[in-house]
Assembly symmetry: none
DNA sequence: AATGAATGAGCGTTCATTCAT
DNA sequence: GATGAATGAACGCTCATTCAT
C-alpha cells in the first residue's frame, strides 16, 4: 500500500511536471494530468488536495533548494575577496548549474510558468537575493540609486543565465556563462 | 455620440487596463471589466467587438509607438560614431523614457501580460531589435556565441530600463538610465 | 408627420421582408432590419412592438389573401363539373399564380421561413384547404384512408407548384404547372 | 461504466430527441436538454462533446440506414422491368416503411429539423436520388422540363410517404403506401 | 417623435472539484 | 482506497427589447 501509493504519487508528479511545463500553472488541466498519469481524477485528489497543492508538490523542493544553494555560494564567496564580483558571479553560476542538473525543469517552471500560483513571485525572490549580494559587493554605499542599479544588474545577469540554460548545453553553456560574468563584472568599479 | 458615449468608452478602457494589468490577457474576464466599468456586458460589446479587440484598443497605440521611437533613435544614432554603444543606449533610453510617460502601463501590459493575445511576442520583437543593434555595434563577428551574448545583453539592458520605468520618475530615472548605460557599455570592448 | 411615418413604415417593412427572406423568422435580426431600413432600432419599436408584430405586418395581408383566393377559385370551380379535378387544379394554379405576382415573396416566407413564428402552420392551413377540396372532388366517400390520401395528394401537388414558383418563370412555369396538373389528375378515378 | 452511465446516455439522447423534435437543431438548447434529462450541463458534455456531436448521435444511424435501404430496393428493382415505376415505388416504400419503425422520429428530425446542422441537406439528398430514378424510369428524355417534373414528383411522393409515416401504422400504412404508389404511377406514361 | 445607448437573460462550452459507488 | 460520474460557476459572446435624452 505504501509502495503502491508512492508509485502513484510519482506518476502524478511526473505528469503534472510535464503539464505545468507545457501549459503553465493557470492553463494546466487537472484532467490532463489525471489522464497523463493514468490516475483517475478522483484519486488524484486523494493525493493532492488541489491544483495549487499539486503545483506546490512539484516545485516545492526546487523552490527551497535553490535559494539555499545561492546562499551557500554566497557564504563560500565571502571567505574570499568580497570585491571580486566576477568571482561571486561565477560561484553563483556554478551553484545554479548544479541545481539545473537536479531541478532544471522545476526551476524553469517556477520562473516562467508559475503565474496565477502562489509562486508567481519566485523569480523576484531569487533576483532580490542576487540584488542584495551585488549591492553590498559592488557598491560602496546602499543608497536608493545604488539599490536600483543593483536590482537591474541582478535582473539582467539572472535573465542571461536563464537564457543560456534554456538554450544551450555543456561546454557552450559554460563558456557563455563565463563570458557573461566577464561582461557584467570585469572592471565593474569604473562603471558604477 | 449623445449621452456619455465617450465617457463610457473611457470607463471601459480604464477598467480593461486595470483588469489586463491584474490578470493578463488570457485570464482577464470580460464580465469583470463590465462590472468594473459599470457597463452591462452587452453594452460593452457595443464598444468593443471582442476581448481581443478590447485588448487591441488598450495597447495598440503603445505597441506601434514604441518600435517607432526605437527605430528613430537608432537612425539618429547612426549619424554618430557607430561604435559608441553607450551613446546608442542613451538614445534608446531617452526615447523609451519619453514614451513611458504616455504608455507606461500599456507598455508593461504588452511586455508582461499579453500571453494568449496577438501581442504575445511584443517583448521579443523589441528585444530582437536591440539584440541586432548590439550584435553589430559591439561584436566584431556575428558568431553564434556572440549572438547569444548580444541577446542576453539586450535582454538585460531592456529589462533594466523597464524596471526604472516601473519604479522611478523624472530626474532620478534619467540618472539611473545614464548609469545603466555606463554600466553596460563603458569599456565594452575589453569585456566581450 | 403622417407622410413621414408612412414612409418610414414602408422602409422598415421592405428591410424586414428582405431580412426574413434571407434568414427566416427566427434567425432574422431586428438590428439588421433597423440598419437596413436606416431607422434607429428604438424608433423601429415605435412602429412595430416586437419581432413577431413586424413579421405579422410583413405577411399578414398575404396570409389572409391567399386562402381567400383559393376559396374563390374553388367556388368558381363548383359552378362547373365538380369531378373535373384537373380543372380545379388549374383554377387553383391560376389563382396561386395571381397571388404570386402580388405576394410572391411574402408567400414564400410564409411557406419556408416562418418557423418559430405564429405562422409556422401557414403551409398546413393551405394544404388542408386543398386536401378538403380534393377529398370531396376525387373520392366517393370521406373515409379516414381517403382523407389521408387526399392530404398527401394536396401536399405533393402544392409542393410541386411551389417548386415551380421558386425556380421557374413565365411560359416555362405555365407549362410545368399544366403538366403537373395533368400528371396528378388525368384519369384520377382509376388511380384512387 | 458503473453507475447508470448507459442509462444517463439514454436519458440525454431521449431528451435531445424531444428537444430537437420540438425546436430543431438550431434553436435547440443544450441547457434544456440538460434539464430535460436531469443531467447537469457539465456532465452532458462528458457524454457528447458538442451540440453537433449530440445531434449526430441522435440521427446518425438513421441518416446512414435510410439511403442504404433506398439504394438496396433500387438495385432489387432493377432486376425487374425498369419501366414499372409503381413497382419501384412500392419497393422503396416498403423499404422505407421498415426503417420507419426504427428511425421514425429521427428521420423526421433529419427531414424537418436539421437546419443549421451538417445534415441540413439530408432531405434533398434523398429526394435527388428518387428524382433521378424517376427521371430515367418515367421520362423518355432528360430535358430540363422533365427533370423539373421528376423533381416535383419525387418530392410529392416522398412527402406523402413521410406523412404516412408520421401519422399511420401497420396495415393501414401499408395500404396507404400501396394506394399512393398506385396514384402516382398507374398509367404514368399517358400523364407525362 | 426620434435616437441609439443600455440592459440582462441566454447561448454553447470548459474545468476544478466533489460525491456516490 | 479507487474510480470516474456528477456538479455548477464561469467563460466569451449575442440579441430582442427598453430607456434616457
Amino acid at each position: 500500500m505504501q509502495y503502491q501509493k508512492e508509485e502513484v504519487r510519482e506518476r502524478i508528479l511526473e505528469a503534472a511536471l510535464a503539464e505545468f511545463e507545457r501549459s503553465g500553472y493557470y492553463r494546466a488541466s487537472m484532467r490532463k494530468i489525471a489522464v497523463g498519469s493514468k490516475v483517475p481524477i478522483g484519486n488524484l485528489y486523494r493525493y493532492f488536495a488541489s491544483k495549487e497543492a499539486l503545483f506546490d508538490a512539484v516545485v516545492k523542493e526546487a523552490s527551497e533548494a535553490i535559494p539555499r544553494f545561492i546562499a551557500k555560494s554566497y557564504e563560500h564567496f565571502l571567505t574570499f575577496d568580497v570585491s571580486d564580483l566576477r568571482r561571486l558571479a561565477e560561484e553563483i553560476s556554478v551553484a545554479i548549474s548544479d541545481i539545473a542538473d537536479r531541478y532544471g525543469r522545476e526551476f524553469l517552471i517556477l520562473i516562467d510558468k508559475s503565474e496565477g500560483s502562489a509562486y508567481a513571485q519566485f523569480y523576484n525572490g531569487i533576483r532580490m537575493r542576487l540584488e542584495e549580494m551585488f549591492l553590498f559587493g559592488i557598491f560602496p554605499r546602499p543608497t536608493k540609486g545604488n539599490r536600483m542599479l543593483a536590482k537591474t544588474i541582478a535582473d539582467g545577469f539572472l535573465t542571461g543565465l536563464l537564457t543560456f540554460w534554456r538554450e544551450t548545453r555543456g561546454e557552450e553553456r559554460r563558456q557563455l556563462i563565463h563570458r557573461l560574468a566577464k561582461f557584467y563584472f570585469n572592471g565593474v568599479e569604473s562603471r558604477i
